[in-house]
Subunit: 268 residues, 2 copies
Protein backbone atom coordinates (compact mmCIF):
# COMPACT_ATOMS: atom_id res chain seq x y z
CA UNK A 1 0.00 0.00 0.00
CA UNK A 2 1.28 3.44 -0.91
CA UNK A 3 2.05 5.96 1.84
CA UNK A 4 0.17 9.03 0.70
CA UNK A 5 -0.98 12.42 2.03
CA UNK A 6 -3.33 15.12 0.76
CA UNK A 7 -1.82 18.32 -0.61
CA UNK A 8 -3.70 21.44 -1.47
CA UNK A 9 -3.23 23.05 -4.86
CA UNK A 10 -3.59 26.74 -5.72
CA UNK A 11 -7.24 27.79 -5.41
CA UNK A 12 -8.31 25.05 -3.01
CA UNK A 13 -8.75 26.08 0.62
CA UNK A 14 -10.01 22.90 2.27
CA UNK A 15 -9.17 23.02 5.95
CA UNK A 16 -8.64 19.28 6.36
CA UNK A 17 -5.32 19.41 4.55
CA UNK A 18 -1.84 18.71 5.64
CA UNK A 19 -0.17 21.46 3.69
CA UNK A 20 -1.29 24.70 2.19
CA UNK A 21 1.97 26.40 1.35
CA UNK A 22 3.86 26.58 -1.88
CA UNK A 23 3.11 23.52 -3.96
CA UNK A 24 6.64 22.66 -5.01
CA UNK A 25 8.00 23.07 -1.50
CA UNK A 26 5.27 20.71 -0.27
CA UNK A 27 6.07 18.06 -2.86
CA UNK A 28 9.77 18.23 -2.06
CA UNK A 29 9.15 17.78 1.67
CA UNK A 30 6.77 14.90 1.05
CA UNK A 31 9.27 13.14 -1.19
CA UNK A 32 12.12 13.75 1.25
CA UNK A 33 10.12 12.30 4.13
CA UNK A 34 9.54 9.11 2.15
CA UNK A 35 5.92 9.29 1.06
CA UNK A 36 5.16 7.25 -2.06
CA UNK A 37 2.29 9.34 -3.47
CA UNK A 38 0.23 12.51 -3.08
CA UNK A 39 -3.47 13.09 -3.28
CA UNK A 40 -4.26 16.50 -4.76
CA UNK A 41 -7.14 18.72 -3.60
CA UNK A 42 -8.14 20.66 -6.70
CA UNK A 43 -10.92 23.22 -6.76
CA UNK A 44 -10.89 23.95 -10.48
CA UNK A 45 -8.55 22.10 -12.85
CA UNK A 46 -8.62 25.09 -15.20
CA UNK A 47 -6.80 27.10 -12.53
CA UNK A 48 -3.71 24.90 -12.45
CA UNK A 49 -0.73 24.61 -14.75
CA UNK A 50 -0.95 20.91 -15.64
CA UNK A 51 2.43 20.72 -17.38
CA UNK A 52 4.20 22.25 -14.39
CA UNK A 53 2.37 19.79 -12.12
CA UNK A 54 3.35 16.84 -14.31
CA UNK A 55 7.00 17.89 -14.28
CA UNK A 56 7.10 18.38 -10.50
CA UNK A 57 5.32 15.10 -9.78
CA UNK A 58 7.76 13.31 -12.05
CA UNK A 59 10.75 15.09 -10.51
CA UNK A 60 9.74 13.92 -7.03
CA UNK A 61 8.51 10.50 -8.17
CA UNK A 62 5.07 11.07 -6.71
CA UNK A 63 2.10 9.46 -8.44
CA UNK A 64 -1.39 10.87 -7.78
CA UNK A 65 -3.78 8.07 -6.80
CA UNK A 66 -6.72 10.41 -6.30
CA UNK A 67 -7.97 13.96 -6.76
CA UNK A 68 -10.18 15.62 -4.11
CA UNK A 69 -12.93 17.85 -5.48
CA UNK A 70 -14.91 19.10 -2.47
CA UNK A 71 -13.83 22.73 -2.72
CA UNK A 72 -16.02 23.31 -5.77
CA UNK A 73 -18.87 22.94 -3.29
CA UNK A 74 -17.16 24.60 -0.32
CA UNK A 75 -15.99 27.66 -2.22
CA UNK A 76 -18.40 27.91 -5.14
CA UNK A 77 -21.51 26.03 -4.02
CA UNK A 78 -21.49 23.64 -6.98
CA UNK A 79 -23.31 20.39 -6.32
CA UNK A 80 -25.04 17.42 -7.96
CA UNK A 81 -28.20 18.03 -5.89
CA UNK A 82 -28.73 21.75 -6.31
CA UNK A 83 -32.34 22.54 -7.30
CA UNK A 84 -31.04 24.95 -9.98
CA UNK A 85 -30.30 22.96 -13.18
CA UNK A 86 -27.53 25.39 -14.21
CA UNK A 87 -25.62 24.77 -10.97
CA UNK A 88 -25.93 21.00 -11.38
CA UNK A 89 -24.71 21.38 -14.96
CA UNK A 90 -21.66 23.33 -13.76
CA UNK A 91 -20.97 20.71 -11.10
CA UNK A 92 -21.05 17.97 -13.73
CA UNK A 93 -18.73 20.00 -15.98
CA UNK A 94 -16.36 20.48 -13.06
CA UNK A 95 -16.14 16.74 -12.43
CA UNK A 96 -15.61 16.14 -16.16
CA UNK A 97 -12.74 18.66 -16.00
CA UNK A 98 -11.35 16.75 -13.02
CA UNK A 99 -11.62 13.49 -15.00
CA UNK A 100 -9.66 15.10 -17.84
CA UNK A 101 -7.04 16.18 -15.32
CA UNK A 102 -7.03 12.64 -13.94
CA UNK A 103 -6.14 11.33 -17.40
CA UNK A 104 -3.25 13.79 -17.65
CA UNK A 105 -1.98 12.72 -14.22
CA UNK A 106 -1.83 9.10 -15.29
CA UNK A 107 -5.27 7.81 -14.35
CA UNK A 108 -6.02 9.16 -10.88
CA UNK A 109 -9.37 8.45 -9.27
CA UNK A 110 -11.71 11.40 -8.83
CA UNK A 111 -13.28 11.67 -5.40
CA UNK A 112 -17.00 12.36 -5.08
CA UNK A 113 -17.15 14.01 -1.66
CA UNK A 114 -18.99 17.23 -0.82
CA UNK A 115 -19.75 17.84 -4.51
CA UNK A 116 -22.79 15.59 -3.91
CA UNK A 117 -24.35 18.48 -1.97
CA UNK A 118 -27.14 18.09 0.58
CA UNK A 119 -30.89 17.57 0.61
CA UNK A 120 -32.06 21.12 -0.04
CA UNK A 121 -35.03 22.87 1.57
CA UNK A 122 -38.28 21.94 -0.23
CA UNK A 123 -36.63 18.81 -1.62
CA UNK A 124 -36.99 15.30 -0.28
CA UNK A 125 -34.32 12.61 0.01
CA UNK A 126 -35.57 10.74 -3.08
CA UNK A 127 -35.46 13.84 -5.26
CA UNK A 128 -31.94 14.67 -4.06
CA UNK A 129 -30.78 11.13 -4.80
CA UNK A 130 -32.37 11.24 -8.24
CA UNK A 131 -30.52 14.46 -9.11
CA UNK A 132 -27.33 12.98 -7.70
CA UNK A 133 -27.56 9.80 -9.73
CA UNK A 134 -28.40 11.70 -12.93
CA UNK A 135 -25.28 13.85 -12.57
CA UNK A 136 -23.16 10.92 -11.46
CA UNK A 137 -24.14 8.80 -14.46
CA UNK A 138 -23.34 11.61 -16.87
CA UNK A 139 -19.81 11.78 -15.40
CA UNK A 140 -19.34 8.00 -15.18
CA UNK A 141 -20.24 7.57 -18.84
CA UNK A 142 -18.10 10.53 -19.92
CA UNK A 143 -14.87 8.62 -19.31
CA UNK A 144 -15.32 4.95 -18.35
CA UNK A 145 -11.55 4.60 -17.92
CA UNK A 146 -11.51 7.03 -14.97
CA UNK A 147 -12.86 5.80 -11.64
CA UNK A 148 -15.09 8.00 -9.53
CA UNK A 149 -14.80 7.11 -5.85
CA UNK A 150 -17.76 7.96 -3.62
CA UNK A 151 -16.77 8.94 -0.08
CA UNK A 152 -19.27 8.43 2.75
CA UNK A 153 -19.17 11.63 4.85
CA UNK A 154 -20.46 11.93 8.41
CA UNK A 155 -23.98 13.22 9.19
CA UNK A 156 -22.77 16.70 10.11
CA UNK A 157 -21.27 17.34 6.65
CA UNK A 158 -24.15 16.12 4.52
CA UNK A 159 -27.36 14.12 4.73
CA UNK A 160 -26.59 12.07 1.62
CA UNK A 161 -24.52 8.84 1.80
CA UNK A 162 -23.17 9.01 5.35
CA UNK A 163 -22.07 5.42 5.63
CA UNK A 164 -20.67 2.52 3.65
CA UNK A 165 -24.07 0.80 3.43
CA UNK A 166 -25.77 3.71 1.66
CA UNK A 167 -22.73 4.22 -0.60
CA UNK A 168 -22.77 0.52 -1.48
CA UNK A 169 -26.47 0.76 -2.33
CA UNK A 170 -25.90 3.54 -4.87
CA UNK A 171 -22.89 1.74 -6.38
CA UNK A 172 -24.95 -1.43 -6.78
CA UNK A 173 -27.79 0.61 -8.27
CA UNK A 174 -25.89 2.48 -11.01
CA UNK A 175 -23.97 -0.63 -12.17
CA UNK A 176 -20.93 1.10 -13.61
CA UNK A 177 -17.49 -0.50 -13.26
CA UNK A 178 -15.91 2.94 -12.77
CA UNK A 179 -17.88 3.83 -9.63
CA UNK A 180 -16.21 2.68 -6.43
CA UNK A 181 -15.85 3.72 -2.80
CA UNK A 182 -13.45 5.67 -0.60
CA UNK A 183 -13.42 4.82 3.10
CA UNK A 184 -12.25 7.55 5.51
CA UNK A 185 -11.51 6.50 9.07
CA UNK A 186 -12.54 9.85 10.60
CA UNK A 187 -16.03 9.61 9.12
CA UNK A 188 -16.22 5.86 9.83
CA UNK A 189 -15.46 6.47 13.51
CA UNK A 190 -18.73 8.43 13.71
CA UNK A 191 -20.92 6.47 11.32
CA UNK A 192 -19.88 2.81 11.26
CA UNK A 193 -20.88 0.69 14.27
CA UNK A 194 -17.80 -1.48 13.59
CA UNK A 195 -15.15 -0.09 11.23
CA UNK A 196 -13.45 -3.40 10.45
CA UNK A 197 -16.75 -5.17 9.83
CA UNK A 198 -17.78 -2.41 7.44
CA UNK A 199 -14.52 -2.68 5.49
CA UNK A 200 -14.99 -6.41 5.13
CA UNK A 201 -18.63 -5.95 4.08
CA UNK A 202 -17.81 -3.51 1.21
CA UNK A 203 -14.52 -5.21 0.37
CA UNK A 204 -15.21 -5.41 -3.37
CA UNK A 205 -16.04 -1.72 -3.65
CA UNK A 206 -13.10 -0.03 -1.91
CA UNK A 207 -10.73 1.77 -4.28
CA UNK A 208 -9.21 4.43 -2.00
CA UNK A 209 -8.58 4.90 1.73
CA UNK A 210 -8.25 8.02 3.90
CA UNK A 211 -6.51 7.73 7.25
CA UNK A 212 -7.31 10.42 9.80
CA UNK A 213 -7.60 9.83 13.50
CA UNK A 214 -10.79 10.23 15.58
CA UNK A 215 -10.07 13.95 16.09
CA UNK A 216 -9.04 14.40 12.42
CA UNK A 217 -5.41 14.87 13.41
CA UNK A 218 -2.61 12.67 12.00
CA UNK A 219 -3.15 8.93 12.50
CA UNK A 220 -1.78 8.03 15.93
CA UNK A 221 -3.05 11.25 17.55
CA UNK A 222 -6.48 9.88 18.53
CA UNK A 223 -7.97 6.54 19.51
CA UNK A 224 -8.70 4.78 16.21
CA UNK A 225 -7.20 1.29 16.05
CA UNK A 226 -5.28 1.55 12.76
CA UNK A 227 -3.52 -1.78 13.26
CA UNK A 228 -6.74 -3.73 12.97
CA UNK A 229 -7.95 -1.55 10.08
CA UNK A 230 -4.73 -2.24 8.21
CA UNK A 231 -5.07 -5.94 8.89
CA UNK A 232 -8.58 -5.89 7.41
CA UNK A 233 -7.31 -4.01 4.33
CA UNK A 234 -4.61 -6.65 3.89
CA UNK A 235 -7.21 -9.35 4.30
CA UNK A 236 -9.30 -7.97 1.43
CA UNK A 237 -6.19 -7.61 -0.74
CA UNK A 238 -6.31 -3.81 -0.91
CA UNK A 239 -3.22 -2.54 -2.71
CA UNK A 240 -4.02 1.13 -3.26
CA UNK A 241 -2.98 4.21 -1.34
CA UNK A 242 -3.39 5.04 2.34
CA UNK A 243 -3.89 8.78 2.14
CA UNK A 244 -3.83 11.07 5.18
CA UNK A 245 -6.58 13.66 4.93
CA UNK A 246 -6.07 15.52 8.17
CA UNK A 247 -6.18 18.90 9.86
CA UNK A 248 -2.87 20.78 9.64
CA UNK A 249 -2.35 20.43 13.42
CA UNK A 250 -0.38 21.12 15.50
CA UNK A 251 1.44 22.56 12.45
CA UNK A 252 1.53 21.48 8.78
CA UNK A 253 5.16 20.34 9.20
CA UNK A 254 4.45 18.38 12.35
CA UNK A 255 1.53 16.49 10.89
CA UNK A 256 3.59 15.53 7.83
CA UNK A 257 6.23 14.11 10.14
CA UNK A 258 3.79 12.50 12.59
CA UNK A 259 1.95 10.78 9.74
CA UNK A 260 4.99 9.27 8.05
CA UNK A 261 6.37 8.12 11.41
CA UNK A 262 3.07 6.47 12.22
CA UNK A 263 2.86 4.87 8.77
CA UNK A 264 6.32 3.38 9.39
CA UNK A 265 5.28 2.16 12.83
CA UNK A 266 2.36 0.42 11.13
CA UNK A 267 4.82 -1.25 8.78
CA UNK A 268 3.54 0.51 5.66
CA UNK B 1 -24.42 4.84 39.63
CA UNK B 2 -28.01 5.51 38.61
CA UNK B 3 -29.36 4.02 35.38
CA UNK B 4 -30.89 7.03 33.67
CA UNK B 5 -32.23 8.08 30.26
CA UNK B 6 -33.25 11.41 28.71
CA UNK B 7 -36.94 12.10 28.25
CA UNK B 8 -38.41 14.96 26.30
CA UNK B 9 -41.03 17.18 27.89
CA UNK B 10 -43.81 19.10 26.12
CA UNK B 11 -42.32 21.91 24.05
CA UNK B 12 -38.87 20.37 23.64
CA UNK B 13 -38.08 18.77 20.31
CA UNK B 14 -34.45 17.72 20.65
CA UNK B 15 -33.76 14.90 18.21
CA UNK B 16 -31.22 13.13 20.40
CA UNK B 17 -33.90 11.87 22.73
CA UNK B 18 -35.10 8.45 23.57
CA UNK B 19 -38.76 9.26 23.80
CA UNK B 20 -40.97 12.01 22.55
CA UNK B 21 -44.41 10.63 23.18
CA UNK B 22 -46.75 11.24 26.04
CA UNK B 23 -44.80 12.12 29.13
CA UNK B 24 -46.62 9.90 31.62
CA UNK B 25 -46.49 6.90 29.32
CA UNK B 26 -42.74 7.41 28.95
CA UNK B 27 -42.17 7.62 32.70
CA UNK B 28 -44.20 4.47 33.29
CA UNK B 29 -42.23 2.51 30.69
CA UNK B 30 -38.93 3.75 32.08
CA UNK B 31 -39.88 2.77 35.61
CA UNK B 32 -41.16 -0.64 34.48
CA UNK B 33 -37.94 -1.36 32.62
CA UNK B 34 -35.94 -0.70 35.76
CA UNK B 35 -34.33 2.68 35.21
CA UNK B 36 -33.45 4.53 38.43
CA UNK B 37 -33.80 8.10 37.18
CA UNK B 38 -34.77 10.35 34.26
CA UNK B 39 -33.08 13.37 32.77
CA UNK B 40 -35.61 15.88 31.48
CA UNK B 41 -35.14 17.95 28.33
CA UNK B 42 -37.04 21.17 28.99
CA UNK B 43 -37.28 24.01 26.53
CA UNK B 44 -39.12 26.48 28.74
CA UNK B 45 -39.96 25.66 32.38
CA UNK B 46 -42.90 28.05 32.20
CA UNK B 47 -44.53 25.69 29.70
CA UNK B 48 -44.71 22.73 32.03
CA UNK B 49 -47.04 21.84 34.87
CA UNK B 50 -44.52 21.44 37.67
CA UNK B 51 -46.93 19.96 40.17
CA UNK B 52 -48.09 17.31 37.73
CA UNK B 53 -44.44 16.51 37.00
CA UNK B 54 -43.62 16.24 40.70
CA UNK B 55 -46.51 13.85 41.27
CA UNK B 56 -45.64 11.63 38.31
CA UNK B 57 -41.95 11.49 39.19
CA UNK B 58 -42.86 10.56 42.73
CA UNK B 59 -45.39 7.97 41.58
CA UNK B 60 -42.75 6.23 39.46
CA UNK B 61 -39.91 6.78 41.94
CA UNK B 62 -37.80 8.58 39.37
CA UNK B 63 -35.49 11.33 40.58
CA UNK B 64 -34.23 13.91 38.06
CA UNK B 65 -30.45 14.21 38.26
CA UNK B 66 -30.24 16.78 35.46
CA UNK B 67 -32.26 19.05 33.18
CA UNK B 68 -31.25 19.56 29.54
CA UNK B 69 -31.73 23.08 28.20
CA UNK B 70 -30.43 23.07 24.63
CA UNK B 71 -33.80 23.53 22.94
CA UNK B 72 -34.00 27.15 24.01
CA UNK B 73 -31.18 27.61 21.50
CA UNK B 74 -32.38 25.07 18.95
CA UNK B 75 -35.98 26.29 18.85
CA UNK B 76 -35.75 29.92 19.93
CA UNK B 77 -32.16 30.95 19.22
CA UNK B 78 -31.45 32.01 22.81
CA UNK B 79 -27.76 31.95 23.71
CA UNK B 80 -25.14 33.30 26.10
CA UNK B 81 -23.02 34.54 23.19
CA UNK B 82 -25.55 36.31 21.01
CA UNK B 83 -24.35 39.79 20.00
CA UNK B 84 -27.80 41.21 20.89
CA UNK B 85 -27.88 42.02 24.65
CA UNK B 86 -31.64 41.37 24.85
CA UNK B 87 -31.19 37.80 23.56
CA UNK B 88 -28.41 37.15 26.05
CA UNK B 89 -30.63 38.54 28.79
CA UNK B 90 -33.44 36.18 27.78
CA UNK B 91 -31.02 33.24 27.72
CA UNK B 92 -29.89 34.09 31.25
CA UNK B 93 -33.49 34.39 32.40
CA UNK B 94 -34.25 31.00 30.83
CA UNK B 95 -31.44 29.32 32.74
CA UNK B 96 -32.58 31.04 35.96
CA UNK B 97 -36.06 29.60 35.29
CA UNK B 98 -34.45 26.18 34.80
CA UNK B 99 -32.61 26.61 38.12
CA UNK B 100 -35.91 27.40 39.81
CA UNK B 101 -37.38 24.26 38.26
CA UNK B 102 -34.31 22.35 39.45
CA UNK B 103 -35.07 23.41 43.03
CA UNK B 104 -38.65 22.19 42.69
CA UNK B 105 -37.44 18.85 41.32
CA UNK B 106 -35.25 18.31 44.36
CA UNK B 107 -31.95 19.87 43.30
CA UNK B 108 -31.33 18.69 39.73
CA UNK B 109 -28.28 19.94 37.88
CA UNK B 110 -28.90 22.28 34.96
CA UNK B 111 -26.98 21.41 31.80
CA UNK B 112 -25.19 24.15 29.88
CA UNK B 113 -25.11 22.68 26.38
CA UNK B 114 -26.10 24.47 23.20
CA UNK B 115 -27.38 27.46 25.19
CA UNK B 116 -23.75 28.63 25.10
CA UNK B 117 -24.27 29.49 21.41
CA UNK B 118 -21.46 29.84 18.88
CA UNK B 119 -18.86 32.40 17.89
CA UNK B 120 -20.99 34.74 15.78
CA UNK B 121 -19.96 36.45 12.53
CA UNK B 122 -17.99 39.65 13.27
CA UNK B 123 -17.17 38.32 16.74
CA UNK B 124 -13.91 36.73 17.83
CA UNK B 125 -13.42 33.78 20.17
CA UNK B 126 -12.36 36.01 23.08
CA UNK B 127 -15.44 38.20 22.79
CA UNK B 128 -17.73 35.16 22.63
CA UNK B 129 -16.07 33.67 25.71
CA UNK B 130 -16.40 36.99 27.56
CA UNK B 131 -20.13 37.13 26.86
CA UNK B 132 -20.46 33.48 27.82
CA UNK B 133 -18.69 33.93 31.15
CA UNK B 134 -20.68 37.07 31.99
CA UNK B 135 -23.97 35.22 31.50
CA UNK B 136 -22.71 32.10 33.21
CA UNK B 137 -21.60 34.02 36.31
CA UNK B 138 -24.96 35.76 36.58
CA UNK B 139 -26.64 32.33 36.65
CA UNK B 140 -24.10 30.70 38.96
CA UNK B 141 -24.50 33.48 41.52
CA UNK B 142 -28.30 33.46 41.21
CA UNK B 143 -28.59 30.14 43.06
CA UNK B 144 -25.33 28.77 44.44
CA UNK B 145 -27.13 25.64 45.65
CA UNK B 146 -27.94 24.55 42.07
CA UNK B 147 -25.09 23.13 39.99
CA UNK B 148 -24.66 24.14 36.37
CA UNK B 149 -22.92 21.42 34.40
CA UNK B 150 -21.02 22.47 31.28
CA UNK B 151 -21.11 19.89 28.48
CA UNK B 152 -18.29 19.83 25.91
CA UNK B 153 -19.96 19.45 22.49
CA UNK B 154 -18.20 18.31 19.34
CA UNK B 155 -16.81 20.79 16.79
CA UNK B 156 -19.74 20.41 14.42
CA UNK B 157 -22.29 21.62 17.00
CA UNK B 158 -20.42 24.65 18.28
CA UNK B 159 -16.99 26.26 18.26
CA UNK B 160 -17.04 26.98 22.00
CA UNK B 161 -15.83 24.37 24.53
CA UNK B 162 -15.54 21.28 22.38
CA UNK B 163 -13.45 19.22 24.76
CA UNK B 164 -12.84 18.52 28.42
CA UNK B 165 -9.66 20.61 28.45
CA UNK B 166 -11.39 23.82 27.36
CA UNK B 167 -14.33 23.14 29.69
CA UNK B 168 -11.91 22.58 32.57
CA UNK B 169 -10.20 25.87 31.76
CA UNK B 170 -13.43 27.85 32.07
CA UNK B 171 -14.42 26.02 35.28
CA UNK B 172 -11.02 26.81 36.79
CA UNK B 173 -11.34 30.43 35.64
CA UNK B 174 -14.77 31.27 37.10
CA UNK B 175 -14.04 29.65 40.48
CA UNK B 176 -17.58 28.81 41.51
CA UNK B 177 -18.31 25.61 43.41
CA UNK B 178 -21.59 25.19 41.50
CA UNK B 179 -20.00 24.98 38.04
CA UNK B 180 -19.06 21.45 37.04
CA UNK B 181 -18.77 19.30 33.92
CA UNK B 182 -20.86 16.77 31.98
CA UNK B 183 -19.00 14.24 29.88
CA UNK B 184 -20.83 12.74 26.89
CA UNK B 185 -19.28 9.70 25.24
CA UNK B 186 -20.60 10.55 21.75
CA UNK B 187 -18.88 13.93 21.76
CA UNK B 188 -15.78 12.50 23.47
CA UNK B 189 -15.41 9.88 20.72
CA UNK B 190 -14.84 12.74 18.27
CA UNK B 191 -12.95 15.22 20.43
CA UNK B 192 -10.90 13.38 23.06
CA UNK B 193 -7.73 11.63 21.87
CA UNK B 194 -8.18 9.13 24.74
CA UNK B 195 -11.59 9.07 26.47
CA UNK B 196 -10.43 7.29 29.64
CA UNK B 197 -7.39 9.55 30.04
CA UNK B 198 -9.65 12.60 29.70
CA UNK B 199 -12.03 11.31 32.37
CA UNK B 200 -9.15 10.75 34.75
CA UNK B 201 -7.72 14.20 33.98
CA UNK B 202 -10.95 16.09 34.81
CA UNK B 203 -11.95 13.68 37.58
CA UNK B 204 -12.67 16.40 40.13
CA UNK B 205 -14.99 18.30 37.79
CA UNK B 206 -17.34 15.59 36.53
CA UNK B 207 -20.87 15.85 37.94
CA UNK B 208 -22.92 14.16 35.21
CA UNK B 209 -22.35 11.56 32.47
CA UNK B 210 -24.09 10.94 29.12
CA UNK B 211 -23.75 7.53 27.51
CA UNK B 212 -24.37 7.38 23.76
CA UNK B 213 -22.50 5.15 21.38
CA UNK B 214 -20.19 6.34 18.56
CA UNK B 215 -23.18 6.62 16.18
CA UNK B 216 -25.37 8.26 18.87
CA UNK B 217 -27.50 5.14 19.12
CA UNK B 218 -28.02 3.28 22.42
CA UNK B 219 -24.80 2.23 24.17
CA UNK B 220 -23.76 -1.13 22.72
CA UNK B 221 -24.82 -0.21 19.17
CA UNK B 222 -21.47 1.28 18.15
CA UNK B 223 -17.80 0.77 18.96
CA UNK B 224 -17.22 2.78 22.15
CA UNK B 225 -15.60 0.73 24.91
CA UNK B 226 -18.07 1.41 27.74
CA UNK B 227 -16.50 -1.21 30.03
CA UNK B 228 -13.27 0.75 30.33
CA UNK B 229 -15.15 4.05 30.66
CA UNK B 230 -17.19 2.62 33.51
CA UNK B 231 -14.03 1.33 35.18
CA UNK B 232 -12.53 4.82 35.00
CA UNK B 233 -15.70 6.34 36.48
CA UNK B 234 -15.51 3.83 39.33
CA UNK B 235 -11.85 4.66 39.80
CA UNK B 236 -12.62 8.36 40.30
CA UNK B 237 -15.47 7.52 42.70
CA UNK B 238 -18.24 8.86 40.45
CA UNK B 239 -21.61 8.10 42.02
CA UNK B 240 -24.00 10.14 39.89
CA UNK B 241 -26.19 9.13 36.99
CA UNK B 242 -25.31 7.42 33.72
CA UNK B 243 -27.81 9.04 31.41
CA UNK B 244 -28.47 7.83 27.86
CA UNK B 245 -28.83 10.80 25.52
CA UNK B 246 -29.39 9.02 22.24
CA UNK B 247 -31.22 9.10 18.94
CA UNK B 248 -34.61 7.37 19.06
CA UNK B 249 -33.38 4.59 16.76
CA UNK B 250 -34.32 2.09 15.51
CA UNK B 251 -37.50 3.04 17.45
CA UNK B 252 -38.01 4.88 20.75
CA UNK B 253 -39.18 1.63 22.39
CA UNK B 254 -36.24 -0.38 21.09
CA UNK B 255 -33.65 2.08 22.29
CA UNK B 256 -35.20 2.15 25.77
CA UNK B 257 -34.93 -1.63 25.88
CA UNK B 258 -31.46 -1.83 24.28
CA UNK B 259 -30.11 0.74 26.74
CA UNK B 260 -31.38 -0.93 29.92
CA UNK B 261 -30.19 -4.33 28.69
CA UNK B 262 -26.76 -2.91 27.98
CA UNK B 263 -26.65 -1.13 31.37
CA UNK B 264 -27.39 -4.49 33.02
CA UNK B 265 -24.70 -6.20 30.95
CA UNK B 266 -22.28 -3.55 32.23
CA UNK B 267 -23.32 -4.44 35.78
CA UNK B 268 -24.93 -1.07 36.48
Amino acid sequence: MKKCIVVSTPGAKFSALALKEDFEKSLRKIAELGYDAVELAVRDPRMIDVHRFQKLLELYHLPVPAIGTGQAYGEEGLSFTDPVPEIRRKAVQRIKDQMNLAVELGGSQVIIGLIRGKVQPKMNQEEAERYFIQCLLECLDFKPEITLTLEPLNRYETDLYNDTLSAKAVIDKVERANLRMLVDTFHMNIEEPDIVESILRVRDHISHVHFADSNRWAPGCGHINFEEILTSLEEIGYQGAISAEILPKPTPEECLRLTIEYYRKLGL
